[in-house]
């Protein structure tokens, strides 16, 4: 078993009382970081964030401090801080627990973030299905307003910040930051052409920073204990803090595990933390970072689970959501389901994604049902290749990556369906 690093979040999950302001103040030094931050300069906060090596927890892994630094100091239009709480990447379920168990931590992180970038207005864009979490956030927000921690002249230190929970309504694409902003503005959730990037022209045309829930929830720790301390929680040079790994699928103990960034391999997380494979079956495949991440075979999982280490072997850490597949489930059937999801969620703006995702799903469906043709595998790779990199937003890549990787790495399974005229396990 790996030596456990200090955890920031997980010890507070699963407890009803952790939601309250009283608990947050008593057990988590709640809002002390805010008081400290409001006495610091904006540049000092951003520099502390850069030192922390906090890489965005939503999926792209972009350094949060660097992102904050992109906000122009002067702006004719109001600036905004938006929390991406859309949590829609299949396999991901970490932000839900932060919001329902320690909502004040997120609020504190957002007030600090607002101050650092010069924004007086913030929104938490939460996926529509999280009705209960939205209610809990609203309760915590009204507690914070009553305590003078939100609103005008916060803590009497001159900073104003208003925070509103904005519910999405069931669209995966709204996890993409420009689609999220379109949705926040009351439009269809369609991604926008970049540039301009949100830091120049984001929500309502104003300079905007969009950060994931877990990213913002880390901010109070960084302010209180310093960027260097936070960076030291990670075991790799460019990746600080702890990470909440969500392990799902065929493991004995699915759930969240928090470990120092870069401190464990995929194999250790699956076998040491999540208890190994359900029913002691053989491991077949691992999707390491949400369903968009290219799949890995059991031979490939002795790799440190972090942003750069997984990128190096052609996949991604994404939202640190590990989906484990045992030999009990047909990989062709699984890929067909994944592909159907992307076809359903394509916003339809870009032709390669709109047409290509559907086409790939049709081809996969016929292979799964025993009507595949020999040339279908080459066709799938060709389709995948013609979607990747040819769309406005990463949904195209998200749909293409799984198809190409499953077909290449599990070619024998696909061929067995085509040649046998049915699923061999059916």
């Amino acid at each position: 078993m790996q030596q456990q690093t200090e955890t920031l979040f997980i010890q507070h999950f699963g407890k009803e009382e952790s939601r309250s302001l009283a608990y947050f103040r008593e057990k988590m030094a709640g809002y002390s970081a805010l008081r400290k931050a409001l006495g610091m300069s904006q540049d000092d906060i951003i520099n502390e964030m850069k030192r922390a090596n906090l890489r965005g927890r939503g999926g792209a892994g972009f350094p949060a401090g660097v992102k904050w630094g992109f906000i122009p100091k002067q702006s004719a239009k109001p600036k905004y801080l938006v929390c991406n709480a859309d949590e829609s990447e299949p396999g991901t379920f970490k932000d839900r627990d932060i919001m329902r168990y320690i909502p004040h931590l997120l609020i504190e992180g957002m007030v600090i973030g607002g101050y650092a970038i010069g924004a007086k207005v913030g929104y938490i864009y939460i996926r529509g299905e999280y009705t209960r979490e939205a209610k809990l956030l609203n309760q915590a927000i009204s507690e914070a307003y009553d305590a003078g921690l939100l609103g005008k002249n916060i803590l009497g230190l001159g900073h104003d910040f208003d925070l509103t929970v904005h519910r999405g309504a069931g669209a995966y694409i709204c996890g993409e930051e420009t689609a999220l902003l379109s949705s926040l503005e009351g439009k269809r959730g369609e991604p926008r052409v970049k540039p301009p990037f949100p830091a120049q022209a984001g929500a309502f045309g104003g300079p905007t920073i969009v950060n994931n829930v877990e990213t913002l929830a880390a901010v109070p720790f960084i302010i209180n204990r310093g960027g260097d301390w936070f960076a030291g929680l990670g075991k790799l040079e460019r990746s600080g803090g702890t990470r909440l790994f969500g392990v799902s699928g065929h493991v004995k103990k699915p759930g969240l595990y928090e470990i120092g960034a870069g401190s464990a391999t995929l194999r250790q997380i699956i076998y040491d933390f999540a208890g190994g494979i359900l029913h002691d079956k053989k491991l077949k495949a691992v999707i390491p970072g949400g369903s968009s991440a290219p799949v890995l075979t059991p031979e490939e999982i002795d790799v440190i689970a972090d942003v750069d280490t997984l990128a190096k072997i052609g996949t991604m850490l994404g939202s640190a959501s590990i989906v484990v597949v045992s030999e009990e489930y047909c990989v062709v059937r699984l890929l067909t389901r994944i592909s159907k999801f992307y076809a359903h969620e394509s916003c339809g703006q870009c032709t390669p994604c709109r047409e290509g995702t559907r086409w790939m799903t049709d081809v996969l469906y016929r292979i799964e049902h025993g009507h595949g043709r020999e040339e279908d595998l080459a066709l799938l790779l060709d389709l995948s290749n013609n979607i990747a990199g040819r769309t406005l937003c990463p949904l195209g890549d998200a749909a293409a990556g799984p198809v190409a990787s499953f077909v290449k790495k599990f070619q024998a399974d696909f061929e067995a369906h085509i040649r046998g005229g049915k699923c061999p396990s059916a």
């Binding site: 299949p90 009705t131 209960r132 509103t164 309504a169 065929h250 699915p254 369903s291 989906v323």
Partner: protein, 157 residues
């Protein structure tokens, strides 16, 4: 045109309005609030929202039809949405769906003739560690099995 939406809806909109720099940003909150009252979004409600916000009804439809949570057709008193995405399908979501179909005597996408139940397959609900999961109206139910479905359904009026 007689109003369908209640004073509570309009009070909520008045409360939210200062939170946004544009009026159109109220559209998605308005659709949610309206659906909470009426359970679905009939054309008259979409028109009423358009009139309130001051935009063309087509703009309301354009947005409402983009998001799967907005019901543009009536749904039953109990709306079951079972996730069948990766984590859930690996943990038996399709068995849960098939069992529910049999139990209710309807297929996915249908409503029972007595208008009590509507069944849908859902994309990832973000409850993958407790898969399979479903929503029953606004509430999550997790770690589902066919037996759990039986007891959940038996507990409904």
């Amino acid at each position: 045109m007689a109003k369908i939406l209640s004073q509570k809806f309009y009070d909520e909109m008045t409360r939210l309005e200062p939170r946004y720099p544009t009026r159109v940003a109220l559209l998605i909150p308005a659709l949610h609030a309206a659906q909470d009252e009426v359970r679905w979004l009939p054309p008259e409600v979409l028109d009423e929202i358009a009139a309130y916000i001051g935009i063309h009804p087509a703009q309301v439809r354009e947005v409402a039809s983009f998001y799967t949570m907005f019901n543009l057709e009536p749904v039953g008193k109990y709306h079951l949405k079972v996730c069948t995405n990766v984590a859930c399908c690996l943990r038996g979501a399709y068995q849960v769906v098939e069992h529910t179909e049999k139990k209710l005597g309807i297929k996915v996408g249908e409503t029972t003739p007595d208008k009590r139940f509507t069944l849908h397959e859902e994309e990832c609900l973000g409850a993958c560690g407790t898969a399979p999961a479903m929503m029953l109206n606004d509430d999550y139910h997790e770690n589902l099995t066919p037996e759990r479905i039986d007891s959940i359904l038996a507990g409904l009026e």
